[in-house]
Amino acid sequence: MWRRGAGLLRPHLAAAAAATGRVRRHPAPHIPAVPYSSASSSSCRQILGTFRHSIGVQYRRLLSQAGGGGGSDACWSCGVAGAFLSCGSCGSVQPVDPAVDYFQIFGLNKEYNIKDNNLEGRYKEWQKKLHPDLVHSKSELKLEGIHVDEEKTINDPKLLMEMMEIREAVNDASDSQTLEKIQSQVKEKLETWSHSFQEAFEKKDFDRAIEATQRMRYYERAVEETVKKL
């Protein structure tokens, strides 16, 4: 119910701010215990819901980029230890362990009746580090460092000669038996290089990872050609 779309982030924030503001405006002693805690928990939930959503977005993005990982508290990007949600050293958003709860995120004791009137402040502190508007470009810039320039041409003769030969073989193949043979050979190479990519990526050997993706692209193209002819 409090989980809404990312587009509603700002209204959410406003609502959360209004809710906490309302709570604060009432002097605590005059408010009966039950309504107070319900007001408090609803504003809290709103904040946390919004927060969880923004983290969720980042988390998914990270998952797709870093291929999971996690577990340790070393930053996935710079390797500095003690990174929680955001790396204190490089500012990269960290994958979130689903076991982490909001009490941990906000540094609160696990109790029902939260008497922390600086919750909004802490929320905003996190937003300064985690808001998608801020970290989106940052993480993309980080990735730029290892990103392949798609417009760039390559001239590795060994790789290109191999690709040329495969494509020529596909082109010259006149019967389906030959094509199937080529296809299975190329698929095998694709598999091998897919594993190489995984290994290289895990070791952060990005040069090799890039070469693997390039080879995979060429093998994929060759497979496409065999499919077209079969």
């Binding site: 760039k152 041409t153 040329m164 082109n171 993706t213 060429y218």
Partner: protein, 179 residues
């Protein structure tokens, strides 16, 4: 986008498959019906690629440029035959596995380098090829491939000559070692 374009066809196959001669309307219609309307020059070079073929890469007077666009899975081979005395490119050929724009770019490149001295062809810019073929921005890298292929071919030729030495004698053993 790039992938969609890259899935087209292969110039070297055109003649072999008989498209150039018999199936004139086939590829042209395909290009016209495609998502992007190609300029007539692209269609022309695509249907009738100039100078498709191969030279012996071990011939001392041949320079081979082999380049690729990994994002599309394209590979282009452009070869030049150089007249040793004049330093002019007397013949050129290409073989490209890639999209229509890559094929047309390399076809144009072979036409443009023929009869020109090597230092002159090095000044051929991809933007000129792209302009000639009216390539859309998304296809600029195809013309880049052609420019790089020319440069690579000249470089290969020069490297060969440097290896053989100033005498200009090509020893068979050296050729065997290169191969």
């Amino acid at each position: 986008m790039l992938r969609a374009g890259g899935r087209r066809l292969l110039a070297p196959g055109l003649r072999r498959l008989g498209f150039g001669a018999a199936g004139e309307a086939g590829p042209a219609a395909a290009a016209a019906a495609g998502v992007r309307a190609y300029h007539e020059r692209v269609v022309d070079h695509y249907n009738n690629p100039r100078n498709v073929g191969s030279f012996d890469k071990d011939d001392p007077n041949v320079g081979t440029g082999l380049v690729g666009a990994p994002a599309c899975g394209d590979v282009m081979k452009l070869q030049i035959r150089v007249d040793e005395d004049s330093g002019k490119i007397v013949d050129a050929c290409f073989k490209t596995f890639g999209c229509g724009s890559a094929i047309a770019s390399s076809s144009v490149a072979t036409e443009w380098v023929k009869g020109k001295p090597m230092d002159e062809v090095l000044t051929i810019k991809n933007t000129e090829i792209a302009k000639h073929l009216s390539l859309p921005p998304v296809k600029l890298h195809c013309s880049m491939l052609a420019e790089d292929a020319i440069k690579a071919a000249v470089k290969d030729y020069e490297a060969k000559k440097a290896k053989v030495g100033p005498k200009g004698e090509d020893s068979p053993s050296e050729k065997a070692a290169e191969a």
